[in-house]
Amino acid sequence: MVRLEPRRQHSQAMVYLSPVLAILMTLIVGGIIFSFMGKNPFDALYTFFILPINNSYGISELFVKATPLVIIAIGLSMGFRANVWNIGAEGQLTMGAIFGGGLALYFYDSESMFLLPAMFVLGAIGGAFWGGIPALLRTRFNANEILTSLMLTYVATLFLSFLVHGPWRNPEGFNFPESRPFPDAGLLPVIYDGTRVHLGTAFAVLVVIAGWILLSKSVIGFQLRVVGKAPQAARHVGFRQKRMVWFTLLLGGALSGLAGLFEVAGPIGQLQPAISPGYGFTAIIVAFLGRLHPLGILFGGLIMALTYLGGELAQITLGLPNAVTGLFQGILLFFLLACDVLTKYRVRFGTPAAKGEAA
């Protein structure tokens, strides 16, 4: 008989090993799924996970895709640590793009060097505004932030659709539902010639470092860690849950908003109905894959970015539907959660130990 026996302490080794284990198991299951779909599993896995990054342009694209994932996941991880479940990052991303992108459209013939910084500020405000609504509803009215933040995602997406179909549609376009292209002054500079790697990627690295400092050196970082691990102790010493809710949702919203702005002012260059292939949702997986730790999130973001690239390539070369990406992401999260049991429990075979030994 197999049983789970609680460990006295969380196993540090398993904290780092379980993501590796989860990735390996996802690859095995992925291979099985590919062979069911009539593909050679090794060819398919090669196309999915190696081919996209076997040249320098591919690696640069990996950074482009990882940028929004890492920025958003850092913000979300702060909330997850304190049991604040913001799952509406996709909506906050959209609002950031609308706020910041709206400025670029208003000054569509601007050449001012202040345009881009102002767009950053508005993008962050837009995201924080959209994240602040669930915070207000949770702290003031006790409404569950999981459901409200998700519902607001649908609202934000529909609002963007309204804008690009209506008032913000490019008057010089051919009736396509998209805005004017942003002026050059409103576009993120590319930081590595010949690629699409933009200023936002450098910002993502800064966010990782800032997140690390916040978590390990600041008072609020300490509070976040305590609230998540021992909510009762936290209440006992007077950490205010409400402050955590506000802080994590505003921060998560602002970072998601910036990530959204970076997408429209970077790779996309205008507003259009679809500005994100679900980065806000994938970032949830990135946060868990990275163990809610900034450095881990950096690696997690790169791995999940690879599933996007692999999915695109597999669609072109193997004719696999793009949905394979989402499938892989879901399976990975399942295995990750399953492997986590090993950090808290030991797997024991055989009948329960004698009474004196039991933990």
Binding site: A143, L147, Y154, I284, G326, L327, G330, F334, L337, A338
Partner: protein, 306 residues
């Protein structure tokens, strides 16, 4: 009166998937388990039901497949959260992400397929009664089933021993365990009931509501069903009323144009989501009521002391 009958008919079809899914989730939550994967289970139910119906030509087989698919999805959730004690919120999200991807993958071969929608009931004379005939006697059987199920769940919870045990497990798992009930087993069953109902709700969407498959065709209905359970403060009677109220809100956009209301369609489409937020706020702000009705152990892992 010309507009009233079509309005009522569309409200019924829009409400049924919400009612089916939220009835299942109500039982799951009453046992103390919060499964946020309703959206994913519905999508997998929708594609399973559609794929089997399109391939076999039998809607009954399709509906059975959807129920089984929903149950299998909920089994993944139950294994992770009840056996391996994984975090229920994170696992529910994973179930939805997985369900979206899996259904899109299977469904990519079925885009553009056409099937016969589920036939409506036809009782000579009764169905032909002017005005109310079609509403009362002309629906497909899933509509009647959704109403029977919510009433059965109401009866089960308030009048049967099984219902009492379920509530005991959800309100105080340690006491229920001490009395001798198998908390884990009961939660497995409650979670699978939720999965089966979500699968059925998905099948209703792909076989009756819009007899076709489209990626993400649930469009957030799984999440609205979750909000409905809170709205109903875990009581089946209010669930029925709430589902129909949301059904009405979600079809308003179809009827607003013909009624001469000129609001951009995107704003009309926002209504169900905004209504969900507003309703959650109103219900949740009454903390006493939530505390009185919510299962006390919801979302908590149970590990029997050894």
């Amino acid at each position: 009166m010309d507009w009233l009958i079509p309005l009522i008919l569309t409200v019924i079809t829009a409400s049924t998937p919400l009612l089916l899914a939220s009835t299942g989730e109500l039982i799951t939550e009453k046992s103390g388990v919060l499964n946020l994967g309703v959206e994913g289970m519905m999508l997998v139910g929708a594609i399973s039901g559609f794929a089997v119906t399109a391939s076999s030509g039998s809607a009954i087989l399709g509906i059975l497949a959807a129920i089984i698919a929903g149950m299998l999805m909920s089994l993944i959730f139950a294994f992770l959260t009840l056996t391996l004690m994984a975090n229920q919120v994170a696992t529910g999200l994973a179930l939805t992400i997985f369900g979206v991807g899996f259904s899109a993958l299977v469904g990519s071969g079925f885009v553009g397929f056409a099937i016969e929608p589920l036939p409506g009931l036809h009782i000579p004379v009764l169905t032909d009664i002017p005005l109310v005939g079609e509403i009362l006697f002309g629906q497909d059987f899933l509509v009647y089933l959704s109403i029977v199920m919510v009433m059965a769940v109401g009866f089960f919870l308030s009048r049967t021993r099984g219902g009492l045990i379920l509530k005991a497990v959800g309100d105080s798992h340690h006491s229920a365990h001490a009395i001798g009930y198998s908390v884990i087993k009961i939660r497995y069953m409650a979670t699978m009931f939720g999965g089966a109902m979500a699968g059925l709700a998905g099948a209703y969407l792909s076989l009756s509501y819009t007899p076709m498959w489209a990626e993400n065709m649930t469009a957030g209905r799984g999440w609205i069903a979750l909000a409905l359970v809170v709205f109903a403060t875990w009581r089946p009677g209010r669930l029925l009323a709430g589902a129909y109220m949301f059904g009405l809100i979600s079809v308003l956009q179809l009827h607003a144009q013909s009624a001469g209301v000129h609001v951009p369609s995107q704003f009309m489409s926002m209504l169900p989501y905004l209504a969900t937020v507003i309703v959650l706020v109103i219900i949740s702000s009454d903390r006493a009521k939530i505390r009185l009705n919510a299962p006390a152990c919801i979302g908590q892992a149970f590990r029997p002391a050894q």
